[in-house]
Structure formats: structure tokens, C-alpha cells
Symmetry: C5
Subunit: 272 residues, 5 copies
Amino acid sequence: MTTSAPAMPLTLDGSAVLHQMMRVKWAAWRALPENSQKEIAEETASFLGDGRHSAPFALLGHKSDLMLIHFRPSFEELAQVQLSLSRLAIGDYLEPVNSYLSVVELGLYDSTAKTYDQLMEQGIQPHSEEWDKKIEEVLQRQREAMLPRLLPDIPSSRYVCFYPMDRKRGETKNWYEESMAQRGRMMKEHGMIGRRYAGKVRQIISGSIGFDDWEWGVDLFADDPLVFKHLIYEMRFDEVSAVYALFGSFFVGLRFVATDLSEFLSGRLPAL
Amino acid sequence: MTTSAPAMPLTLDGSAVLHQMMRVKWAAWRALPENSQKEIAEETASFLGDGRHSAPFALLGHKSDLMLIHFRPSFEELAQVQLSLSRLAIGDYLEPVNSYLSVVELGLYDSTAKTYDQLMEQGIQPHSEEWDKKIEEVLQRQREAMLPRLLPDIPSSRYVCFYPMDRKRGETKNWYEESMAQRGRMMKEHGMIGRRYAGKVRQIISGSIGFDDWEWGVDLFADDPLVFKHLIYEMRFDEVSAVYALFGSFFVGLRFVATDLSEFLSGRLPAL
Amino acid sequence: MTTSAPAMPLTLDGSAVLHQMMRVKWAAWRALPENSQKEIAEETASFLGDGRHSAPFALLGHKSDLMLIHFRPSFEELAQVQLSLSRLAIGDYLEPVNSYLSVVELGLYDSTAKTYDQLMEQGIQPHSEEWDKKIEEVLQRQREAMLPRLLPDIPSSRYVCFYPMDRKRGETKNWYEESMAQRGRMMKEHGMIGRRYAGKVRQIISGSIGFDDWEWGVDLFADDPLVFKHLIYEMRFDEVSAVYALFGSFFVGLRFVATDLSEFLSGRLPAL
Amino acid sequence: MTTSAPAMPLTLDGSAVLHQMMRVKWAAWRALPENSQKEIAEETASFLGDGRHSAPFALLGHKSDLMLIHFRPSFEELAQVQLSLSRLAIGDYLEPVNSYLSVVELGLYDSTAKTYDQLMEQGIQPHSEEWDKKIEEVLQRQREAMLPRLLPDIPSSRYVCFYPMDRKRGETKNWYEESMAQRGRMMKEHGMIGRRYAGKVRQIISGSIGFDDWEWGVDLFADDPLVFKHLIYEMRFDEVSAVYALFGSFFVGLRFVATDLSEFLSGRLPAL
Amino acid sequence: MTTSAPAMPLTLDGSAVLHQMMRVKWAAWRALPENSQKEIAEETASFLGDGRHSAPFALLGHKSDLMLIHFRPSFEELAQVQLSLSRLAIGDYLEPVNSYLSVVELGLYDSTAKTYDQLMEQGIQPHSEEWDKKIEEVLQRQREAMLPRLLPDIPSSRYVCFYPMDRKRGETKNWYEESMAQRGRMMKEHGMIGRRYAGKVRQIISGSIGFDDWEWGVDLFADDPLVFKHLIYEMRFDEVSAVYALFGSFFVGLRFVATDLSEFLSGRLPAL
């Protein structure tokens, strides 16, 4: 019989997310006659649609030329998106060099603590049928309240900053050995920094435990890319980041509309 | 003369397992006339068979397009499978980019502790002829009882999640220096989480010490991929995972039947 | 309510910076008729301009043949530079193998300490409207005073040494857990070494938190490359480097003027 | 003047060893007319000889298709083997993707302790002329006694398991700071596990300090590959492995005779 | 005001050094008519010269086929060497896969301690004008005395062993936090092992702080390659290596004279 509350915070899952980072095979593209280029770019743009669920970004640096972000209701649909792109004519001119698979996630540290405390006080055994039912009620309430944040459109800012991250499991500093109370406190302090950047940056966290090589993906959307630097530098000093955050590669891109793909492939950065 | 029981738990070995992750050379494939595509896909499907021993999965992300899982009675047969695939016509359109070699493994922490205790109480010297005979009897009994789990068909769920893992051997936290009793206790707690997911996910552990670059391979099979995230996130807080687990890359795929390979290669995700 | 001063030092942001490291496809280049080589080199040189904002360097070693450094007012313009280069004829003869994205950064540890102390003494709440206004005044004053260092031309020395770096966040030695006073003291000692090299080497620090995979990029410019070795070796013994610095790859190159690109591509190292 | 015995154990060096892991370029090979395939395979088989000094293995997994192990009297001869293979016709169909360079090594922890103790008791100064002469006598005696183990034929078992390894030099656990007595004791315990597998597995240790990127290479030869798993798993719990062993990649292969190379390249795993 | 002696040892800089590791494109080379092969090999040999400043080595293993070592008076000249080689006809048949850039370095731990002590006793302020003048006098004297070791020819032994290395900067064991006295003592003990190998091996240390990804490059030259193993294994037990040394990849090669390049490229290892 379990006699203490679970260690895992409650979370809500939203849209399935795929980031695709691709190199453009410029030499092959340039060798195409102009009208073929136009046709292929149009076919691709039509596939990507109005930008709410699939959006192209011009990436800075050698890691990739183009990043596509896809938000879909399920992995089933993401898999079809990936497969279709491989078979579109544009597929011959794009080389997939990186990707990230995740699900929009809202962590509920606050509600978790409150709910677990209540249920424990009521003497309800964790993972009992009654426990699970109560938890599902809480999740359902939160899910309805947060639906727009669980199923967002891709924010329409000019700049994106994407990076994956882990919580450290070192020999002495181990996030997963911290108590729920400690973790909740640190996440709250972390969140208070973000709150001061409200209006300047939009953050979408997606969970990737079991899906990709890091535990979370972070997308920041802003019109001024310096905001990424200020926000992340400031956060680096809060306890949860200073001690427990491990970061993967950073990808910075400029959004454009899919119908400007032809312009992008002609070497002109499209305005947004 | 050894005077304490061995530190290694008893384990049972089952089917030999090969995971093959491959990129599809889409441009070359697209350049093939349709009837050649059809012939090649059919030849491959016929080679893969009815899906119980070899099954194809459409992978999400850039790591690969296609994962094949093979269960066979021996490495000898796995080697022939790999070699045959290299020489089939489809071989020219697949680029092997990753793989994993292992053997289905059932760890017997519970029986081990009981058996070792009994034998030690009877004054039987570890690794003596009598000890080895008694151990072999226990293994043989367990092997018969667990035969279906040792020689399973590839579960027919829509989704698979595969990842390799190690037990940490750090300077202060070292799994292989923990006592059998401590390890047994932690594995039991770990298993109790899994048990709550029974019916939603099927787990097949395969051992790869001496065979591949990590110590174990984990395959999870489920119809809802979110279950992978919930299960693995929850487990991350149990002691054996929080402190001692090191994870490799995660591969998530959607199963389809081999006869739909042609559909997959045409850019349409086959239903299962 | 926050009751202590922020942990992050004040910083000023200047030019957007892109380093591009590229391999020359020598065989393909050699196969070109001489007049095509000349045309392409001239087109590229004209694109790179007078060397104040874009400069070419012949790199030593196999990591790359050519490094381009670009200083621009914004990421928007850097993205256009990168895109244009991909589409220029020279693009077919260059393979991008590395890059670094950052923003010229001046850290203000000294002013930060003074300013925070003053504001705290005046009882102004960190991050309050008044606080932010006072901070912005300080930043604006410093920005004006340091404008030439924020928007520098690329120094015209013969040699460059570029490397990215991080501050360590280990389990016991963690830069981001040190107090502002300690960090300020260590940075000051670090700076005093640099000061002794004034006249021999010019250093440009750019910040890349949120932009690239390391926290800072360091460019050293000198006419004698041995100065790089002496300076960096000496610094390795100061506390901030000995204990807290992690270094990425080092790139050493010789600057030449863009109009000598044709000479470089003919296998003759141009004089500066 | 040195007043304590040396820390390094005495070792004997035998055959020079080269492991070559290669991918077969299947598409190019398949495109060859059958009689060319036959000729090339025969030329290669004749080069490899009767299998005592050079032997081919079909590897499992994507790491390579083919592993060649060469035992030779000297690096001079190994270099000629490597160079000849590059220039044989088969060279166009093999892509070298990994290798390992080492020398068969027998560690003499037992004799070392005894010899050092004796010489120290006799008051002979380490590294003095007399010391070196006595040591050389011991080595010479052992060398003669162990000649067959120093210059072995490649064992003719069906399976090979090769992996490189290091001894850990961590900040608190450091093999090279342990006393000779402690190291000797741990190596002896380690060896006792191996002894229980006598008859089932043949182990050849080769030293690669100064030659390749790990300190030792380990080759295990057996007819049942499960023995690799049992032996290495069991050893993982002994002190020297649990605390001090670091492992590289594992390569598992099936031996065949060189004259069956043509069969292998036709996609049929040859029997041994 | 600095009141303690500097932590950095005095060092002397000699020749600029470039190691180039290259794969031979055997298939393309074999396809060349014999007289073209001869011409290209002769052109390359003539470029490499008499072997004192540029020398070719046949490398063992898959890391590379050919290593060129270049000693030159300056980076300027090294850059021209690299550029010329890229444009020679041989350039089309060589793929650069690794390299190392450094400067011959003599560390003067002994003189440093004596000099610093003397100057401190005389009350001379570190880094004052007088201090710098005295130091420069010491360096100049040493430079003249050691000129042949600063500007050496490439030793003409049959075998080379090259590897890069770092001094550890761990959280508890950190070379750069050790006192000058401790470092001097450890370097002296380290040097005494080397001295016992005098006549059997020639060692050239080159410094690469600020130039390449490790702090030092080590070249050992010997006629018997087993000497590399014995020397490096023995050194692994001395304190400075056991605790503070981190090693990169090891490259072992056999020297031949440039005029035998054609023989090498025909698949016959040239005698020296």
C-alpha cells in the first residue's frame, strides 16, 4: 500500500508537435528551370496551409536553412505530414538534418499540490479507483479551462527560438529526488520571471519524455530576438535553471508565410 | 572459496532481437517506374511475412523513416535476415542509420533472492556443482512457466516506443555496487508502476550486455502514444530510474502491415 | 515581493554577429574555366564589400577552409546575408560546416553592483516600474558612452582566433550560484590580465544565450598569433577560467581582403 | 632515488592486432556481373588465407557488415595488410567505418608483486641496471612459457564479441591511484569469474595504450553468443568492472571461412 | 597590486606545426592512368621536399590513410602549405578528415620557480616593467640555449605516435588550481620517466591553447612502436597523468620518404 502522495506532478497534454529542420540543396534547386521552381514552391505552400498548424522559418546558421513547425491533433496526423512532405516534389531539395517530437504540455504544480493534499487528508489511497476518479475530474476541469493553451495556433511572431532541455539527474543534484514542495517552489519562482516578459514573448512548452532524446522542448516566439537572450540569461540564475537545467541545441528562425516560400528559395528573405 | 551469494540476478533469455532503423532514399525511389516500385515492395513484404516475427514501423522525426523489428530464435537467423535484406532489391532504397541487437530477457530478482537464500542456508557453496545444478533447475522451471513471454510475437499495437538504457556506474551512485536486496526492492517498486499500466501498454525488455552499446533495450507497445509519456514520466521519479537510469535515443513509430509497404512508400501512412 | 537585488548583471547588446565556417569544394572549383572562377570570385567579393561588416579568413586545419565573419545591425539583415550567399554562384563551391550566431555584448559588472546597491538603499523594489526606469537610464548612458564598442567594425588585424564558451554549472562548482560580488571580483581579475595585452590583441565578446549552443563567443584579433596562446594560457590560471570556463572548438584564421578571394581560391594565400 | 617499487605491472606483448570494420557497398556490388564478383571474392579470399592470421566475420547491426581481424608479428606487416586491402579490387566495395589497433597483452599482476617484493627485499634500486636485468629475466621466462598465448591463431569459434575498454580515472575513483596490491586483488577476483567460463569462451586481451583511443581491446570467442552476455553481465558486478571499467562499442559477428566470401556477398550467411 | 608570483610557467615557443590526417580516395586513384598517377605523386613529393619540414606517414586503422606533419617558422607559412596542397592535383584524391594546429613548446617549470623566487625576493612587482624585462632576459637566454629543440627537423624514426591532451579542470581535481610548486614537482617526476626512455624515443611537445581543441599535442618518434605503449602505460601511473591527464585520439603511423609516395599509393608500404 502506498502511503505517500505520488511524486509526479499532474500535467495536461495538448497538440502533437513536430519540428523539422532541413538543409536546402541549393545547387540542385538553382539548376531547376524557374517555372518548375514556382510549381514546386506553390505545391509546398498549399500543403503547408495558412500557417496556423504548419509554419516555415528561415533558420540562422549552418544547422539548417529551413525549419517547419507542425501542430496537429495526433501523432497519426504528424506521421502523415512527415510522409507527405517526403514524397512532395520539394522533398528532393530538402535534406532532413534534425527534428523534435513532442506534445504541448501544461504542468500543474500548483493544482497538484492542492489536490494531493486534499485527497490525502480525506484518506483516499493514491492510485485507488476513487483517487484516479478525483484526479481525472481535476484534470478534466483544468483541460476545459486551458483548452486554447493546449491546442494553440502557431504564434505569428517574426522570430522563434527553439531548444530542448532536461532536468539534471546528477550524483548529488537530482531533480527527480527533490520533494514536490521544493520542485513546486522552484517552478513558481521560474514562472515569475517569465511573467515579467508577458507581451514580449510567448512560450509554448511541449513534453517529450518517451518521444524524443530530451525531456522537454521549449518554443519562444517574439518580434524582437534580443528578448530571447534577456529572458533566458535572466532565468539562468534562478535555482531550477542554474542547478537543474541541461540544454540542447538552440535554433533561431524568422517566420514567413508559406506563399513566400518561392521568394525564400530565390534567396530573398520574405517580410512577414 | 566464495562465502557470499553471487551479486548477479538470475535471468532468462528468449528470442534474439534486431531493431533496424533506416532512411528511405525518397528521390531514388520516386524515380522508379511504378511497376518496379510495386514489385520491389511486394518482394519485401513477402520477405517480412505475417508480422509476428518481423514488423515494419513508420518512424516519426528525422532519425529514420522506417524501423524493422525482428524476433528470431537465434543470432544465426538474425544475421541471415540482415544479410538477405541487404541483398533484396529494396536494399538499394534503404540506408541503415541505426540498429540494436539484444535478446528478450526476464529478470528474476524475486526468485533469485529466495533461491540464493535457500541454497546458502543449506550450506551449498556458490558455483559448486551442486549449486549450479539447483540453479539450473530453478531456471528450467521458470523458463517453462514463462515460455510465451520469452518467445513472444511482436505485439500488434499501433504504436511502438523503443529506447536503450544503462544502469549508472557513477563515482558515488553505482547500481552494480548496491546489494541484491536493495536492487530487488527498487526493481519491485519500479515494477509496481508498470503494473498499473497493464492493458494499456505492453513492455518487452531485451538484454544487450555484450551485444550492443547499452545494457538493455526497452520496447513499449500501445495504441495511445500518450501512454508512453505518462508511464515513463511517472517512472522517472521512482528510485531506480531517478538515480540509476541512463537513457539513449527514443524512437517512436506507427506499425503497419508489410503488405502496405507500397502504400507507405507512396507517401500515404497505411492504417493498421 | 522580491527583497534582494537581481542576480543577473546588466549587459549592453550591440551588433548581430554571424560566423560562417565553410569547406571549399576544391575539385569542383578547379574544374571551372578560369574566367568563370574570376567572375564568381568578383561577384562574391563585391557582395562582401570593404571588410568592415563582412570579412573573409583563411582557416588553418581541416575544420574549414574559409571563415566569414558578418557584423550587422540586426538578425533580419544577417538572415538576408546568409540567404544571399546560399544563392550566389559561389554557394555551389562552399559547404557550410559550422557557424555561430551571437550579439556583441558588453557586461557591466561594475555598474551593476553600484546601481543595484544604490537602488536597494533607496528602497526601490527590484523590477518595479521605478526600478526598471532607473535601470534603463543607466543602460542608456552606458550605451551612448560605449557605442563604438557596441557597433565595431571588424578589426583589421591579420589573425583571428574564435571560440565559444560556457560558464560551468557543475554539481559543486556552479557559476550561476555564485554571488554577484564574487562574480564581479572574478571578472575584474580576469579583465586585468586582458588589460596587460592591450595594443597586442583586440577582444570582442558576443553573447549567444538563446541564440546558439554555447553562452558566449570570443573573437580575438592580433597581428601575432602567439599572442592568442600567451593570453589564453595565462587566463587559464585565473579563478573564473580555471574553475568556471568550458571551451568549445578553436578556429584560427588569416584575414585577407575580399578582392583577393580569387587569389585565395587559386591556392595562394593573399597578403593583407 | 626511487625508494618504492614501480606502480606499473609487468606485461608481455605478443602479436600485433588490427580489427577492421567495413560497410559493404551493396548496390555497387550487386551491379557487378557475376563473374567479376566471383573473381574479386576469390582474389580477396586468397589474400586472407587460411584464417589463422586473418579472418572475416559477418557483423550484426548497422555498425558494419564485415569485420576482418588480423594477427601479425609486427605493425609493419599490419600496415602492409591494410594498404594491400585498400588496393585490392574488393576495396572499391568496402567502406572502412571503424578499426582498432592493439597488441596481444598478458598482464602479470601475480609475478609482478612477487618479483618487486623480492628485488626490494634484496635492496635492489628500482630502474637500476641490476633491477632492469632481473626484470628482463623474469619477462623472458614468462614469455617462453606463454608463447602460444602471445602468438595465438585466431580462435575458430563461430561467434566473436569485440569491445574496447578503459580503466576509470575519475575524481574520486581512479584505477591508476590504487595500490599494486589492491589492483592485483581485484584483477584476481575478476579472473576467477573468467575461469568458470573456461571451455565455453576464449578471451584474448590486447593492449592499446599509445595505439588507439581506448586502453585495451577485448575479443571473446564462443560458439554460443549467449555466453558473452552471461560472462560480461556477471563480471559487471565484480569490483574492478563495477567501479573502474568504461566500455566502448560492442561488435558481434559470425565467423566464416574466406573462401565463402562470395556466398556472403551474395546475401547468404555461410556456415562455418 | 599583485603581491604573489604569477601562476603560469614560463614557456618558449618554436616552430609552427600542422598535422594533417587524410583519407586516400582509393577508387578514384585506381581509376587514373599509371602515368598520371606517377606525375601527381612526383609533383606532391617535390612539394613535400626532403622530409625535414614536411613528412608523410602511412597511418594504421580507419581514421586516415595518410598523415602529413609540417614544421614551419610561422602560421603564415603553414597556411600557404595547406592552401597549396588543396590546389595540387593530389588534392582531388585526398579527403582531409582531421588535423592539429600547434607550436613547438618547451615548458620551463624549473627556471620559472627559480626566477620568480629571485624576483620576488628582490621586491620586484610582478608584471612591472622591470619584472617583464628580467623575464624577457631569462627567456632569451633559454631560447638561445634550446634553439635546436625549438626549431627541430622532423625526427627520422620509422614510427610516429601523435595524440592531443588536456590538463583536467574537474570540480575537485583541477590542474590550474594547483600551486606552481606542486605542478613543478609533478612535472619533474613525469620527466624522470621520460628520461629513462632516452635514446629509444624522441618526444616533441607542442602547445595548442588558443589554436586547437586540446591544450597540447604530443608527438613521439621511435623505431620500435612497442616503446610508445611501454612509455605511455608507465606514465599513466605518475600523478600528473593519473589524476590530471585527458587524452584525445591516438594516431600511429609509419614514416616513408616523399619520393616513395607513388609506391605507397600503389598499395606497397615503402621501406624507410
